[in-house]
């Protein structure tokens, strides 16, 4: 089983990297791009025999305490088979 955790800045936090990418996309001739926000994701492999319930519980805690900083970031967990 695998889990994927997406982490991105909250909408209220300045994302200068996203802004720079957006501005360059305009330069490259894509006026349809209104905004870009940059984030990251973590692919996590779970040991064989781990239940989906256990995985979700552990990954939620890990996302909250380690992978994301709740002051500036939000996260989303996906459990993949």
């Amino acid at each position: 089983m695998k889990a994927r955790v997406f982490v991105s800045f909250k909408s209220t936090v300045l994302d200068p990297q996203g802004q720079t990418i957006c501005s360059k996309l305009h330069d490259l001739g894509y006026p349809a791009i209104a905004d870009v926000r940059q984030g990251k994701f973590f692919d996590i492999a779970l040991a064989a025999g781990t239940s989906a319930e256990q995985a979700r519980r552990d990954i939620e805690i890990i996302a909250q305490d380690v992978l994301a900083n709740p002051v500036i970031e939000e996260y989303r967990v996906e459990i993949l088979d």
């Binding site: 209220t12 936090v13 300045l14 380690v66 002051v71 500036i72």
Partner: protein, 222 residues
């Protein structure tokens, strides 16, 4: 007075901090390796600048789980003086000892130059000898020094007089020009600029000394 200087893997201003308190201030500095579970007999703790754990994940995000941080939290909880400089500030916010977060500079560039700071308060063990009617020349050297906190937290910091220093001419996009903040009990300060690197004429400024002299004056009084 004995200052404990915590050394994380990737700390690189640990010797600068020790030099400032030992050679310039004439006090004692002791290095404390990050996997130590006790601080020993120290009167204050400095979390120095650098790139702990290569800034992997987020600046300070791995260091906050170092064994020594449990001892630092207890020391702070008992009222001990804790100063986090640059990466040390990032570790303190990640560890929840100070509010807010430090994110990528507004202009994306790593900035290494001198800035002017104005004390936001003189009611703290780190700024009690500072004067609000003048500015202090101290260097910065960071890529992730843009202070961020939500509006409610910022209002609270201002209402409780917990903004230790502000930039004069904001270099990195920090909200409300914040360069350093205090915890509610006022015994923990985080500061992005490097006061330890402005302590002798050869360094171009001695203005950073005020932070360490303030800490010393409080320790001597105690």
């Amino acid at each position: 007075m004995t200052f404990g200087v915590i050394v994380f893997p990737g700390s690189n201003r640990d010797h600068d901090a020790a030099y400032a308190v030992a050679n310039v201030l004439g006090q004692k500095a002791e290095f404390i390796w990050h996997d130590s579970t006790s601080l020993g007999a120290v009167d204050a703790v400095i979390l120095p600048g650098g790139f702990s754990y290569g800034d992997y994940l987020r600046c300070g995000a791995i260091a906050k789980f170092s064994p020594v941080m449990t001892a630092v939290k207890k020391f702070a909880g008992d009222g001990g003086l804790v100063l986090g400089i640059c990466n040390g500030f990032q570790i303190l916010v990640e560890a929840g000892l100070l509010p807010g977060a430090l994110i990528r500079n507004r202009g994306l560039q790593f900035i290494c130059r001198e800035v002017q700071l104005r004390p936001g308060t003189t009611d703290s063990p780190f700024t009690c000898l500072a004067r609000k009617d003048r500015t202090y020349r101290v260097p910065i050297a960071h890529g992730e020094g843009c202070y961020f906190a939500d509006e409610r937290t910022l209002d609270e910091l201002e209402a409780e007089d917990r903004i230790a220093f502000r930039y004069v001419g904001n270099p990195n996009g920090s909200v409300r020009d914040i360069a350093g903040v205090l915890n509610r009990e006022r015994n923990v300060m985080g500061l992005m600029p490097h006061p330890e690197d402005a302590t002798e004429p050869l360094m171009g400024s001695c203005d950073g000394l005020v932070v360490f002299q303030s800490m010393l004056s409080v320790a001597v009084r105690a």
